[in-house]
């Protein structure tokens, strides 16, 4: 961090505080936690967006069958009191009695069967099919018991049930329909949603009938308002001006200066998220585009100084993953990966060998912090690849990516905090909408790895996939994320490594 102009900061702080002293002091008394985020949520329905913002929201407003303890990563009962696995493709859940949804209706096996069957059905067109395509069906075995059949064994199945399978109220959702549900969603979580303005704001209020004894606990703060702003700069302005009590994924360069502000606090925690550069190896944007050539892709991997980006830009202990997955995930075998050092001269040579001695023009779409995108752009320019940076909103980029329109894009993937490569590699390599490699061999290995419960068989399959992916330089993992949070000093907030802010555990000091 550079030395700061302390006087300037002091004057600025004084000015901002002076102007906004009233709202800054008022939020605690109003018992409203004001959250500002920049990844606007087009649809709050948990299965119809694949933004982290969506995961965060559904963990406040909905409950799943299983809870993963954020400290120990152990699975605990939530809406299911217990579960059994009589064979590798069957899970039997016993459900908790006396749980109510926000609309007052009782939680029963029908709700679970409805939700699981809906997301497992390809016709439902959920946003992340690879999260659910291993489920065959759910069937009711009693008022409070459900049997779920799997198409193939999934060792991480219960983690998926904990993190990405919140339960719908069947009667209500069938009554209002998918669109009505997105406008006025109902769940069984600690907070109920009182108002939704898609892409603008979401209001929450504590659910007073939330079941006692939940590991999530009854929220201490009564109201939450989530507001979406277009960029990181605006987010920071809102925090400094006292119009926001909590922001995250802020620019890490601002961690120290924010900590010097008398009324603010900034903290960070490494998460399971990795930043990546997707390359259109499959030719989805044009059959013979430069990125379909292996040497061009390898040149790109050599052109970017990933270590410098992790150490100097992301900071806070960010690492460069060798394989296309988070290092701690099961099956993420760094040994199997082909290593690419930072070597611009070699990159230029590879480009020349591939038939592009003068480089080429390409669009580089991005939703990561603008300066991170610019640094990648500069590295590419340095070897002659004239990348044009196109900064987009997250949801807009994902839409274009799924449509197969992005030749090159920067993004990040948090694996839904599931500590298994099945939560990341299939999304980018199983032939689905986010797959820009379209390699049948890799698809096959991922299927093998995802459908066995034998750890050795799984490891072998994933290692083979990792070797091929890195050899072919399909999809470049750039750095792990260290999530930076900024919040009011009046707020008692604990960040967890699973990148799920738990507002129901936050309280005022």
């Amino acid at each position: 961090m550079p030395m700061q102009n302390k006087l300037g900061v002091a004057i600025l702080a004084a000015a901002l505080l002076g102007v906004t002293a009233l709202p800054a002091a008022a939020q605690k008394s109003a018992d409203t936690l004001r959250i500002v985020m920049r990844d606007a949520l087009p649809n709050i329905d948990p299965f119809y967006n694949n933004l982290r913002t969506g995961v965060v929201m559904h963990h406040q407003g909905w409950d799943a069958l299983v809870y993963r303890n954020p400290d120990t990563f152990k699975l605990e009962p939530l809406l299911a009191t217990e579960w059994k696995l009589p064979d590798p493709t069957t899970i039997e859940f016993t459900l908790r009695p006396g749980v109510k949804f926000h609309d007052g209706s009782a939680f029963t096996a029908d709700d679970v069967v409805y939700t699981v069957n809906l997301v497992a059905d390809p016709a439902s067109r959920v946003s992340t099919p690879s999260n659910y395509n291993w489920i065959e069906k759910a069937e009711k075995t009693g008022d409070l018991s459900v049997r779920v059949k799997l198409k193939r064994p999934n060792p991480a199945a219960l983690e998926y049930f904990a993190l990405v399978l919140p339960i719908y109220p069947k009667a209500y959702r069938e009554k209002v329909g998918a669109e009505g549900y997105a406008k006025a969603p109902v769940g069984a979580g600690p907070y109920k949603i009182t108002k939704v303005e898609p892409g603008v704001s979401i209001d929450f209020e504590r659910f007073e009938d939330y079941w006692a004894g939940s590991p999530k606990g009854k929220p201490a703060i009564r109201k939450m308002s989530v507001r979406f702003v277009p960029d990181a700069g605006t987010e920071m302005t809102e925090l400094l001006a006292g119009r926001a009590d909590w922001i995250w994924n802020m620019n890490p360069d601002q961690l120290e200066p924010v900590n010097r502000m008398p009324h603010l606090q900034a903290v960070r925690k490494e998460s399971m998220r990795i930043g990546y550069l997707s390359l259109d190896a499959a030719g989805r944007t044009g059959a013979d585009n430069p990125l379909t050539k292996q040497k061009v892709r390898q040149a790109i991997w050599h052109a970017i100084d990933r270590k410098a980006i992790a150490d100097k830009l992301v900071t806070g202990g960010s690492r460069v993953p060798a394989a296309p997955c988070f290092p701690s995930q099961f099956g993420c075998d760094a040994e199997a990966a082909v290593a690419y050092d930072y070597n611009p001269a070699k990159a230029k040579q590879l480009l020349a060998e591939a038939g592009y001695p003068d480089g080429f023009d390409v669009e580089l779409a991005s939703y990561v912090l603008p300066q991170w995108g610019s640094s990648v752009q500069n590295y590419l320019h340095a070897v002659g690849i004239r990348a044009k940076l196109n900064q987009l909103q997250t949801a807009a980029l994902i839409q274009r990516s799924k449509a197969g329109e992005l030749r090159m894009h920067l993004g990040s993937w948090g694996s839904y905090s599931i500590n298994d490569v099945s939560a990341i590699m299939p999304n980018f390599f199983d032939g689905g909408a986010d797959d820009y490699a379209r390699d049948p061999e890799v698809q096959n290995w991922l299927l093998q790895g995802g459908s066995s419960i034998n750890p050795e068989v799984r490891k072998e399959a994933y290692s083979a996939a990792i070797k091929k992916i890195t050899e072919q330089a399909y999809w470049a993992p750039l750095h792990t994320y260290v999530t930076t949070y900024g919040h009011s000093k009046q707020l008692d907030f604990t960040p967890y490594p699973d990148e799920l802010p738990r507002f129901y555990l936050a309280k005022w000091k």
Partner: protein, 293 residues
């Protein structure tokens, strides 16, 4: 209320005004000359490359602040690129866009204005129609739409601004041509058998050129500001080219804690536009004095 006793007063005050005017003119010339020099030879004098990033040396403050680095007089930006080198390169882009825009818009505007003013009648009706049409179009909105639809780029920004900023040239050229066309030397040229192009180019144009020069300075300043605005919105000069507007945009996320990243290009922009306007004012004063003689 007061008695008319201050009749002699205008004399000294107008002398004072003209002195201020001349000083302003000199300052303006000096600023523009300085920026021009920076644009032409600056990158030869500044050793750093404006495009090379050095992530280990990010956000170093300029020389007057604590923690500055010897090699980076104006510090470095969020990617560790030398700020002075980028500023100097940015001057080149600003002046290039200003000049090219003025040339394009001047050609269009002066041609239309002179033709309308000289021929009158139907031709003038058409020119007036073109001017009113152009005046009813909001420049920034159209520029945003065009650049948004066709993508950003240096050439496109120049073309868009050049095709939009010709109205003042046309208005002034038309009005002054109307005054000049009835002067005796124009009639004399007619009698001497001069051709129409000769009269337009050799008789009319030189006599309205001084007024057009003033317009040119105003338009140049405007074009530079508009380019900065478009670049700030991400629709002008594409990164990594260091346009001043783009530098401000890239620095805006840092303005709370590293304010110099927007102050330096902001001040540069202010000074250049001020300088060009001072030159314009000075020219106008000089010409006004000439007319009185």
């Amino acid at each position: 209320m007061s008695e008319p006793i201050a009749i002699q007063a205008p004399q000294p005050s107008s002398v004072g005004a003209s002195r201020i005017g001349t000083t302003g003119f000199a300052i303006g010339i000096a600023i523009v000359a300085l920026v021009l020099a920076a644009a032409l030879v600056g990158n030869a004098l500044v050793p750093q490359d404006p495009f090379v990033q050095d992530l280990g040396n990010r956000l170093k403050p300029p020389f007057w602040m604590e923690g500055s680095q010897a090699g980076h007089l104006l510090g470095t930006d969020q990617l560790g690129r030398d700020y002075l080198a980028r500023l100097v390169y940015g001057a080149r882009i600003s002046l290039l866009i200003g000049t090219m825009t003025v040339i394009t818009s001047g050609l269009i505007g002066i041609t239309l204005g002179v033709l309308g003013g000289f021929f009158g009648g139907r031709v003038d009706d058409f020119v007036l129609f073109a001017i009113t049409t152009r005046l009813s179009i909001p420049v920034v909105l159209v520029a945003l739409a065009v650049v948004g639809l066709m993508g950003s780029g240096l050439g496109l920004v120049v073309a868009t601004l050049g095709l939009l900023l010709w109205d003042r040239f046309a208005v002034v050229a038309r009005a002054t041509t109307m005054q000049v066309r009835n002067h005796d030397y124009v009639s004399a040229a007619w009698c001497a058998g001069a051709s129409m192009p000769h009269i337009l180019i050799r008789e009319i144009l030189p006599n309205i050129a001084s007024h057009l020069a003033v317009v040119a300075t105003l338009e140049m300043a405007l074009a530079i500001l508009l380019e900065a605005a478009l670049s700030f919105l991400g629709l002008g000069v594409p990164p990594p080219l260091p346009s001043w507007g783009l530098m401000i945009a890239e620095g805006k996320d840092y303005m709370f804690f590293s304010p110099w990243v927007i102050m330096i290009p902001g001040v540069a922009l202010l000074v250049l536009v001020l300088g060009i306007n001072l030159v314009g004012d000075g020219l106008r004063n000089l010409l006004g004095a000439e007319r009185l003689r």
